[in-house]
Symmetry: C2
Subunit: 106 residues, 2 copies
DNA sequence: AAGATACATGAATCTATGTTCAAGTGTCAT
DNA sequence: ATGACACTTGAACATAGATTCATGTATCTT
């Protein structure tokens, strides 16, 4: 019911562009810890809801996150295909893996 | 004689933006294997030399690559600070590490 | 079924980034 | 010192991306 696979039609540079944004990086860092609804994300991020929504769309289109409706809310999580096998905070984009530092700064 | 340290003043998203470009990614992948002059890079990449130069500047400013003059040529290499401790093709940006797939595709 | 809640979408704007073109700088050979 | 070679720089332009605003859709409550 939600795109579950990495979008293989986009190249690595395009993939990195998806991550190369403060808001989207923050979203990913939050979701790596646990799945969250848009409202919860919104609280943590202090940006306009509509802007967050646009960013979530970018992440969705790339296949980096999954979403599922939960009552009125929509819950987002890191896409299974992207969850890194390795320990720690990481995502596997297919073209490359990105390991984030513990206790994400900036 | 050349910037040797990662530019710590830029955040992780900005750092990723530096990598999120086809040309710059290609440069990095080439340089991970061995240092190359601009001319050598240019041959491998099939883009206008002046454009390559602009991209190299972006990589330099971020501290991702180093350069040194060698006669008429200028030789570029992955910055020491960025060379990943881990085995394989990888760069360590400080905020995160990026492991590239073997035999880099796209 | 009407209103409130929780999000998504589309168009418009603004800003950042990639690309090109026209110089400019440093090095080597003569 | 002059010209060729190997690059860099700056300005102009074009495009892509982020942000805002106004509107639309799905779910729940009553």
């Amino acid at each position: 019911m939600t795109a579950v696979e990495i979008n293989r039609s986009i190249d690595c540079a395009t993939f990195l562009k998806v991550l190369a944004d403060q808001t989207r990086l923050a979203v990913i860092r939050l979701l790596i810890r646990r799945s969250l609804t848009v409202g919860e994300l919104n609280q943590s991020l202090d940006i306009e809801q509509t802007l967050l929504s646009h960013h979530l769309r970018v992440l969705r289109d790339a296949g980096v996150v999954e979403h599922q409706r939960e009552g009125r809310s929509i819950r987002y999580s890191i896409a299974a295909a992207v969850k890194s096998a390795g320990r720690g905070a990481a995502v596997d984009l297919g073209c490359c893996q990105i390991l984030f530092d513990e206790k994400g700064k900036s």
